[in-house]
């Protein structure tokens, strides 16, 4: 089964991934994605009915912290790597939600 990635799909993948693709980039990405999906389709050969999907390899659970404040004011460090900062906050292009 050969996968075909449409222009709309690659556009959509670009939106999900937040990657800007020029025309050449789109064609390359379509080709790569088609090829990989064809390859991954091999998994369809395996019967996985009734198999529980495995997220964690170890059967461990319940890792908790107690509700105790351990962190102080670390603003200086947190903002150290910011490309743009103002009034101790990270600056982004003007945005409304």
């Amino acid at each position: 089964m050969a996968n075909v990635i449409s222009d709309e799909t690659i556009e959509y993948v670009g939106i999900l991934s937040k990657l800007k693709l020029d025309d050449a980039g789109k064609e390359q990405a379509k080709h790569d994605l088609e090829q990989m999906l064809d390859y991954i389709d091999q998994l369809g050969e395996l019967d996985t009915d009734g198999v529980e999907p495995m997220t964690h390899v170890h059967p461990f659970s319940n890792c908790f912290r107690e509700d105790v404040v351990t962190n102080g004011d670390d603003r200086e460090n947190i903002l150290k790597n910011a490309p743009e900062e103002k009034d101790n906050m990270f600056a982004v292009p003007r945005t409304f939600d």
């Binding site: 959509y12 939106i15 999900l16 937040k18 997220t55 964690h56 461990f60 659970s61 319940n62 890792c63 908790f64 912290r65 107690e66 509700d67 105790v68 404040v69 351990t70 962190n71 004011d73 670390d74 603003r75 947190i78 903002l79 743009e84 103002k86 009034d87 101790n88 906050m89 990270f90 600056a91 982004v92 292009p93 003007r94 945005t95 409304f96 939600d97």
Partner: protein
């Protein structure tokens, strides 16, 4: 309108939990800090940082689930919800989609008996939003699920500059999202449901549930359908509703918008809309860059949560007495009217103050009076919630004792109470410092009475001529001359004695 429509409403309610620290790191959740002062590598999405779950979040979520008749998911997991936005530092939010902690619950609501919030929110409204008054209807609203998740940071919009600024102090504050079934049919039911949830959660101490401050937020999913239809219409989701009033407005506005679309032969589009309470309209929040495809998958950084029976039993055992039980107990224990009990138990804070103050001064009726009259009046005047009450039960009890022992009279007590209400001032000290003690020396009061009689011959004549009411004016003059420090009862008695001579 040729057809009759029914509104179908489901709610997604976000509640900020009252933990001391964030859900996945040891940063404080306290309000009011300087921007980004409560942040660390985890809640700012620094590379290499990893989340570790706050146990208290699980316990609060379980407590709310148990109190709303939910099944607790014995094996639950966290998932990542992926979307890009600057208030979301990792560009994914850790939430629960596939195995939320609670499912399949309900709460019982009562409509027909309008609460203060309902009355305010419904002011000026008529029609289907208001049930027939007087008739109390009980109804179950189903809870589809409750899940745990992290809150986002805050975007601050600079009015002059070209930038928005991001503060991550709220990023990672624990939330539960309570998703109802589409069981509500009117704004009145929605508000009754929200009030019920708020009461339960406040009683549990799991959150302060303040709509205005955002610690309780409701998104409204609404569709309309013709009366009698069993199919649901296409629903929209409305956000940015931060008061009961805006919820009521938004429901009305969206209902009308959808009916207009259907009536003109159009189709409602499933979308997220933002309610603007100043313009009284909603607008779609869609943009090309918001794919609304969150690519949820289990978070590999967090282990599943397994909840054993013993843990559930422990959380159950720690649950407080809820309102219904409290009402029954008050009826047995305290000699106060049912109406007072209803109002006092509507807020756990109020009920706690009542019980503690009554315990100290042994006069539940008087405590109840202070709560029902002066406290309610001041709360209303200052647009405050009972949760914001600052005075301590001990000081209220002390105030009652000051009146009982005639150190101050009732009107002075009210004056002192106003100060106490604002600052939790010690009433005894305040009375002392401000020289407000009642004049209990009858000789001194008598002197004032004599002076007042001499200065008000007309009133004296009226009284003597049979107008009993004139005594009231004279008592008032005595109180005025005594700067309020006289006991009106004593003044009344002495005046009558003098006038009878």
């Amino acid at each position: 309108m040729s057809k009759e429509y029914e509104t179908v409403i489901g709610l997604e309610v976000h509640v900020e939990l009252a933990t001391k620290t964030k859900i996945f790191c040891g940063c404080s959740t306290a309000f009011g800090a300087e921007p980004n002062a409560h942040t660390c590598p985890v809640c700012t999405g620094m590379p290499g940082s990893l989340p570790v779950l706050n146990k208290q979040v699980v316990e609060y979520a379980m407590a709310v689930g148990l109190a709303t008749n939910c099944d607790i998911t014995r094996h639950c997991k966290f998932d990542r919800k992926n979307y890009f936005y600057p208030d979301n530092p990792q560009n994914y939010q850790i939430s629960q989609l596939y195995l939320p902690i609670c499912r399949n619950g309900y709460v019982e609501i009562e409509t027909g008996k309008l609460s203060e919030n309902q009355k305010n929110a419904l002011k000026g409204k008529t029609g289907s939003d208001i049930a027939e008054s007087g008739e109390i209807k009980k109804k179950r609203v189903g809870i589809h699920e409750i899940h745990m998740e992290e809150d986002a940071g805050k975007l601050v919009h600079d009015d002059w500059g070209e930038v928005s600024l991001v503060d991550y102090n709220r990023s990672g504050v624990p939330l539960i999202e309570i998703v109802s079934e589409p069981d509500m049919r009117s704004a009145e039911e929605v508000i009754a449901y929200l009030e019920k949830l708020r009461m339960i959660i406040q009683y549990l101490g799991a959150s302060d549930c303040k709509l205005q401050e955002g610690s309780m937020r409701a998104d409204v999913n609404l569709s309309v359908r013709e009366v009698g239809s069993t199919e649901f219409g296409t629903r929209t989701e409305m956000k940015n509703l931060n008061s009961f009033t805006s919820i009521t407005h938004a429901i009305e506005g969206e209902r009308n918008r959808q009916i207009d679309i259907l009536e003109s032969g159009g189709k409602v589009i499933q979308e997220t809309r933002r309610w603007d309470d100043t313009k009284f309209e909603s607008y779609a929040m869609r943009s090309k860059e918001d794919a609304q495809d969150y690519r949820y998958f289990p978070d590999p950084d967090l282990l599943p949560v397994d909840i054993a029976d013993e843990w559930i039993e422990k959380v159950k055992a720690a649950q407080p007495e809820f309102r219904e039980a409290k009402i029954e107990r008050y009826k047995q224990e305290y000699q106060i009217p049912d109406y007072d009990i209803e109002l006092i138990t509507a807020s756990k804070r109020m009920a706690d103050i009542f019980e503690e103050a009554s315990g100290i001064c042994g006069q539940p009726k008087k405590v109840s009076n202070w709560l029902m009259v002066e406290t309610m009046r001041l709360l209303k005047e200052k647009s405050m919630d009972p949760d914001q009450i600052r005075f301590s039960p001990a000081n209220l009890a002390k105030l009652i004792e000051l009146v009982d022992s005639k150190v101050i009279n009732n009107s002075t007590a009210k004056e002192v109470f106003e100060v106490m209400f604002d600052n939790d001032t010690d009433p005894a000290k305040y009375v002392e410092e401000h020289g407000m003690k009642q004049e209990n020396d009858e000789g001194a009061v008598k002197a004032i009475c004599e002076k007042v009689i001499a200065e008000n011959p007309q009133s004296v004549a009226d009284y003597k001529g049979g107008k009993d009411k004139a005594i009231g004016f004279l008592v008032g003059q005595v109180m005025k001359a005594a700067k309020g420090k006289a006991d009106p009862g004593t003044a009344n008695k002495i005046l009558k004695e003098l006038l009878a001579q």
